[in-house]
Amino acid sequence: MILFYEELCNYCGSCVAVCPENVINLVDIHLSIDRENCTDCAKCIKGCPIGALALERKGKIYYPEYEGRGLF
């Protein structure tokens, strides 16, 4: 599941631009992810310049800054 750290977000829309399923909804300073239709492809995590998105898989959080090569 994609996790969203709101306090880090710049609302820049970069994740929206690269999401192949178009399931990220950005309105002003509100970002939401339609998790039903998200495929956990993690492209948005790479698309985010500042690490406001992470992936949780099997109870483990993959967040580039902490996990090093874990995810990518």
């Binding site: 631009a17 690269v18 492209k43 698309g47 310049p49 800054e65």
Partner: protein, 398 residues
């Protein structure tokens, strides 16, 4: 707000404002819709533009120019600068004010502008786009239009709603982070030049920029290749922090900007029945520099002219709107593919190769160092790329 317009433009960035202005100048009833409450804010840009392209659309005004640029310095990975002297070559803008001014010129030309008006969908009747739905003042409105121009930027939804896949592939974007900084080391920072730093360590498949905003104020940013982002646990912001630590340890961060820029080919489909896509929404920024302000204005202008012709002729089909993509391709787009390939080739260079190029160039006298000379030197280190270059020399790109 009326319920029927000739042209509805979605997004009041440079692409949308110039499209709306051009449409209004052609006598069309034009509506420009912007979801933000303040046009141009927040800024997602390093704000540099060349004088030559700017004056195609607006005369420079002190109110929205932060600094005049007199050339560029490219720092090779070992820190060797290559200085290109170009007096008054361009500007670093105050985009917030610039974007607002452009929208004002659209209003002056007769266009109607609404802010805090978020487009939520397109009206699609029998495969013809004939308007949009808008959320405005807590109510939903349906607005009919002969032509909808999608100028909704890099995260464009309008094209997707109309069935055109405008998603950006990670390999075709640069992921960017930027600080507005002061307290800059005067030995490193020059308010005269746009500085570019290249190198695998600093910015893999991208570059670091330091663009002057004032005597002690600059946009310091980094863009890295989308596929590289996150590798080794490093994101754009980490590269930026590394650069700041080594180059401006005393610098103060005044604001932070994030974003992505399209650096691939243009979107293959930029018109549909009753629909035209312009600017970043059409992936129109320059594949090497990521600069998109000028191209956004150009595509907005071209699209609106074609829209006016189509409306005058009473034919709103994608087929009839083709002069827009053709003109775009002819003037700018057709070179993108070659530029992409040159870029990909150059990006494979080792840091040593870049250092050697810088050394060779610095043996020339300063006035001999031009963009053309730099290209030549770089390409002599990779003759295969000369084949691509052939296509670019003829149209006068370099």
């Amino acid at each position: 707000m009326h319920t029927k317009y000739d042209v509805v433009v979605v997004g009041a960035g440079p692409a949308g404002s110039i499209a709306a202005r051009t449409a209004a100048e052609r006598g069309l009833k034009t509506l420009l819709l912007e979801k933000r409450q303040e046009i141009g804010s927040p800024v997602r840009c390093a704000e540099a533009i060349s004088h030559e392209t700017l004056i195609r659309y607006i005369e420079p005004e002190a109110a929205w120019i932060s600094a005049t640029v007199h050339g560029g310095r490219i720092f090779s990975p070992n820190g060797t600068p290559v200085v290109i002297q170009q007096p008054n070559v361009g500007y670093v803008l105050e985009r917030k004010l610039f974007d607002r001014r452009l929208a004002e010129t659209a209003v002056n030309a007769g266009a109607e502008v609404l802010v805090k008006a978020r487009v939520t969908g397109v009206i699609n009747t029998d495969d013809q786009i004939c308007g949009v739905t808008v959320r405005y003042h807590r109510r939903d409105h349906a607005i009919q239009a002969d032509i909808v121009i999608a100028a909704d930027g890099v995260e464009s939804q309008v094209a997707r709603w109309a069935g055109i896949n405008s998603t950006h592939e990670l390999r075709d974007v640069d992921i960017c982070a930027q600080y507005l900084m002061s307290n800059l080391d005067p030995d490193v920072y020059s308010p005269e030049y746009c500085d570019f730093y290249i190198g695998r360590e600093l910015a893999p498949r991208g570059y670091v920029w330091v663009f002057p905003k004032g005597p002690d104020l600059a946009n310091v940013g980094v863009g890295i290749g989308g596929t590289i982002s996150g590798r080794n646990g490093k994101l754009a912001i980490d590269y930026l922090n590394d650069f700041v630590r080594t180059h401006f340890p005393e610098g103060r961060v005044l604001s932070q900007v994030a974003g992505c820029v399209p650096v691939g080919d243009s979107l293959p489909e930029i018109v549909g029945n009753g629909l035209m896509i312009v600017g970043d929404a059409a992936h129109h920024s320059d594949p090497i520099s990521g600069g998109g302000i000028a191209n956004a204005m150009i595509s907005g202008h071209f699209a609106a002219e074609t829209a006016a012709d189509a409306i005058a002729a009473g034919d709103l089909s994608a087929e009839f709107l083709r002069p827009y993509p053709e003109r775009w391709d002819e003037e700018i787009g057709k070179n993108f593919r070659h530029i992409c390939r040159i870029r990909d080739g150059v990006m494979k260079f080792s840091d040593k190769t870049f250092d050697r190029c810088a050394q060779v160039l610095n043996k020339l006298s300063p006035e001999k160092i031009t963009m053309r000379e730099i290209f030549k030197t770089v390409l002599l280190h990779q003759p295969r790329l000369l084949l691509e270059l052939r296509h670019l020399i003829a149209p006068g790109w370099i």
